[in-house]
Amino acid sequence: MPTSLKDTFRDALSVSLTVGVYGIAFGAASVAAGFSVLQSCLFSLLTFTGASQFAAVGVVASGGAGASAIAAATMLGTRNALYGIQMAPLLQVRGFRRVMAAQITIDESTGVALSQAPRGSEAMRAGFWLTGAGVFLFWNIFTLLGAVGAKALGNPASWGLDAAVPAAFLGLLWPRLETMFLRLVGAASMVFALLVTPWLPAGLPIIATVAVAVVVGWRPR
């Protein structure tokens, strides 16, 4: 590896490891929701976008319908399309390499790629591929560990797993609440979700909350 890419490699590795460890929480949440160890691992291999995976198993755990689970997960993943639009002109790949690039287009690979801009476009490409591959590797290893561990533990409430899942969502939400405006959007969404809970089938209040994002984002501020 050229010395110029050493810093990029270090950035990619530290992000991959830190994020990959979260896979333990997903594996445990997935098993607690009733998915098998195999299914939990397939989620991380095939879906491979953390918040969406948590959403799918979260809706299932709360007794929601399958369609609600899929819809919530898909809507949480729409930002990956915007990342792809930014990454495609940088990567310039076709065929199978494009399929691989798409699968590893997530928060972290895009974030590290963009952060390498001062080091040039070669470093940006390296940042994307190294981080995407690194997160993929560690996320899947730790998902397996979390799923096997949770299977061995038994009753989810007895080990606090039923609180670990909403805590994980809170942990994913926290760094996004950068401004007072965004905190207000978050608070309004929580209130809205609780208000509609008694009136809608389980799982639907989560999707219905997208209405808050649509109403607030409709006009420029």
Binding site: T78, S189, T209
Partner: protein, 104 residues
């Protein structure tokens, strides 16, 4: 939920998540340049994650329920204010919730 429905959730989520990613790599940039679409898209994760926090922490089926999970969430919030890293936040929530569950 039936075992076959759980497979449908797994396969449906995976297929659509990949399609969304592939879409981004395939469409011309201007297609998604609409500013209203971008504003809404930026807010969707915040709305959905917020809803998931309360739906998982305060709801059983279609009822709002206060139980041991809220203690776990409060502990997670305290850990986040103390700038704890993500795995610590999750573990603190789990331990607190489990303690309340057993002591209650």
């Amino acid at each position: 939920m039936s075992p076959s429905m759980m497979w449908i959730v797994l396969i449906g989520t995976s297929a659509l998540s990949f399609s969304v990613k592939m879409l981004g790599h395939s469409v011309p940039e201007r297609w998604l340049a609409n500013s209203r679409l971008q504003r809404i898209n930026a807010l969707i994760p915040i709305s959905l994650l917020s809803a998931l926090v309360v739906a998982q922490g305060l709801v059983v089926k279609t009822h709002v329920v206060i139980d041991h999970r809220l203690a776990g969430l409060a502990a997670a919030l305290a850990a986040l204010f103390a700038k704890a890293p993500f795995p610590v936040v999750v573990v603190v929530a789990a331990v607190t919730s489990a303690l309340v569950y057993h002591l209650h």
